[in-house]
Subunit: 370 residues, 2 copies
């Protein structure tokens, strides 16, 4: 078990990571005496709701179970949750518990952010993606037909409990999607961690408790350090979006949910590495290493069949990272050193898009630019 | 013209106060080059929209005119505004302008708080209440059938332009409602200011530019000092709610809009002063001075006919200020010295309620407890 303290002044909070945490009472000392409401989805509820309800002494009226899936991150569902909180008279010193993956965390966090102008919430992430990514940084939000996470707020949890045992019931695809984000952390800021992932990939895929705990802790720590420097995403925090601009374009193009976020990011990481190599910023071999690692993890390295460079450019132009009309991308100066820049040759972007969108593409592994 | 700088670190912003500001371009230098959207209501639009549109070069598609009234502060209207912002592709570095009273400021501020996780907004308050109160403190929000401002966020404006000339077109009732909040500032924290209001009440009611500018500036400064010490309302900020717990009960009981917020607060101020006197915390004469000033301003000093002590107690139990099941009130230790406390004799609260709710009550002026 490892604990990471996310240092954000009076909004600081601990993340506890390790196996078996959900069976232990001591983590709840700071909130258990307060009025609680728990929100989860039907998939997660099946495995983890009953023991947690018993542990916290929650009656049925204090629990809301949503249908699993990204479509729940909607304005309508957020409104229904707020209605429920008001109907059940949750006071301002009450606390929400988000038991589930990123969808539950984002949605419940958003409701906590705007209920009575902000109340506490606890995240219990049950997917690898949520454990390594959405549990740090305070980003909450919902989707809109015109874009993902277009409505939201920054709101820090009071506590995060990442029980790595919950990953045992996670569908394989979702596990891999989380691995993609871990690879992202190595690529964007820590070459030694990238090397470690290359060496430990099999242990991670086998859910070795020590390897998973280390990978989650290290990823969260990297994210926490970046977030502490830039809580509101005006500067260095954008580095965390490595692979995401390409990835969001894929997710929007395919419709939410067809590709998992982590799968889209995985392909985005490959595209960012490829573009960095075409710009001469990293060696072609380094791009190849990144793409090979993504492929070895069983993650997609090319966009869906039929998606064109035009599809990418159109979606990317709507991205939140367009400032003053100029597309900014996160690219690599080295493995372990990402930069945010609008200063790149757009012709090279065109080459990357053309190469990755080629209908003749090998569907799993790409060779980077020479 | 006076300028007040609200000091909140990287969220600091200026409030410019005085006559004629809306005809001047220089205040807009920090935002005019950015993509802008302006939201107002049909009453305000009639008087002030056209010149501001010209000044800022806004085309019709960048302006949204709502029906005037508190009912606009709804989840549905907020959703419609967010749809509009996304449909018109307002980027993250865009800026919203709220031209209107508290309803427009709260609603537009809330949309700015959650659009793409928070964008800039400018407040152009056109009511006295909005100028002295809602333009400082970053409270934004909407109503819910179960309570006022139950959904919202803290989000600071980038700039506030309080043109005191806009008060000339304000209905008399709304002007008086703003005076109530000014009296509140004297009562809660500055006896000398209370004395000044007593002396200058006629000038204020006559909209004397110098008196109004001074009163708005002084009220905003007092609020800003309190907010700077307590941005998220955990401590001293609650002092600003003097009169509000009683007032909210009246507003909820009568239905939103029947009583203006400031009218309900005016009566709440009288009730808080009365209770403070019954508790022996202030002299009966001081309570009488407060009530007499409220009455002289033409504001209501008693709750609506038919409202019972039970109505008050039921509404007050739902108030956001109930922490750990205990009702906290803002009461007076002196004129100019308010305290937040749950430590009062509930029997005295019962006496105040019984006295103010008496069906035999003189409808305008009350004598305080002996």
């Amino acid at each position: 078990m490892q604990t990471l303290n996310v240092a954000l002044g009076d909004r600081s909070y601990p993340i506890h990571i390790g196996p078996g945490l959900l069976g232990q009472t001591q983590w709840w000392d700071s909130v258990r005496a307060r009025p609680l409401r728990l929100i989860t989805d039907d998939h997660v509820a099946r495995h983890y709701l009953a023991p947690l309800r018993t542990l916290l002494g929650l009656d049925e009226a204090a629990v809301r179970i949503l249908t699993a899936g990204e479509s729940q991150k909607s304005w309508e569902q957020a409104g229904a949750i707020l209605d429920w909180l008001l109907q059940t008279h949750l006071p301002r010193d009450g606390c929400l518990i988000a038991l589930g993956g990123g969808v539950i965390g984002d949605l419940v966090g958003f409701c906590a952010a705007i209920y009575q102008r902000g109340i506490d919430f606890v995240q219990v992430p049950t997917t690898l993606l949520a454990q390594v990514d959405s549990s740090v940084g305070g980003k909450t939000g919902i989707n809109h037909p015109r874009g993902k996470n277009m409505i939201g707020a920054f709101h820090q949890p009071r506590l995060v409990l990442a029980d790595t045992d919950t990953l045992k019931t996670l569908p394989r695809r979702e596990l891999l999607a989380g691995i993609a984000e871990i690879i992202k952390y190595g690529m964007l800021g820590d070459r030694a961690f990238f090397d470690w992932i290359e060496a430990q990939l099999d242990a991670l895929l086998a859910l070795d408790a020590e390897a998973i705990t280390y990978a989650v802790h290290h990823s969260c720590r990297m994210k926490a350090e970046i977030v502490a420097r830039d809580e509101r995403e005006s500067g260095p925090r954008a580095l965390l979006n490595l692979g995401h601009t390409f990835g969001h374009a894929i997710e929007t193009h395919t419709g939410y949910g067809a590709w998992l976020h982590g799968e889209a990011v995985a392909t985005g990481l490959c595209m960012a590495a490829d573009l960095s190599a075409r710009l001469g910023w990293i060696a072609p071999d380094d791009a190849q290493r990144c793409i090979a690692l993504v492929a070895r993890a069983g993650l997609p390295t090319v966009p869906p069949a039929g998606m064109t460079p035009g599809d990418f450019l159109q979606r990317m132009a709507l991205d939140k990272k367009v400032a003053h009309g100029k597309l900014r991308l996160v690219l690599l100066r080295a493995i372990g050193e990402a930069v945010v820049t609008a200063d790149f040759d757009p012709a090279k972007l065109g080459e990357t898009l053309a190469s990755f969108c080629s209908p003749q593409a090998d569907p799993r592994v790409r060779t980077p630019a020479p």
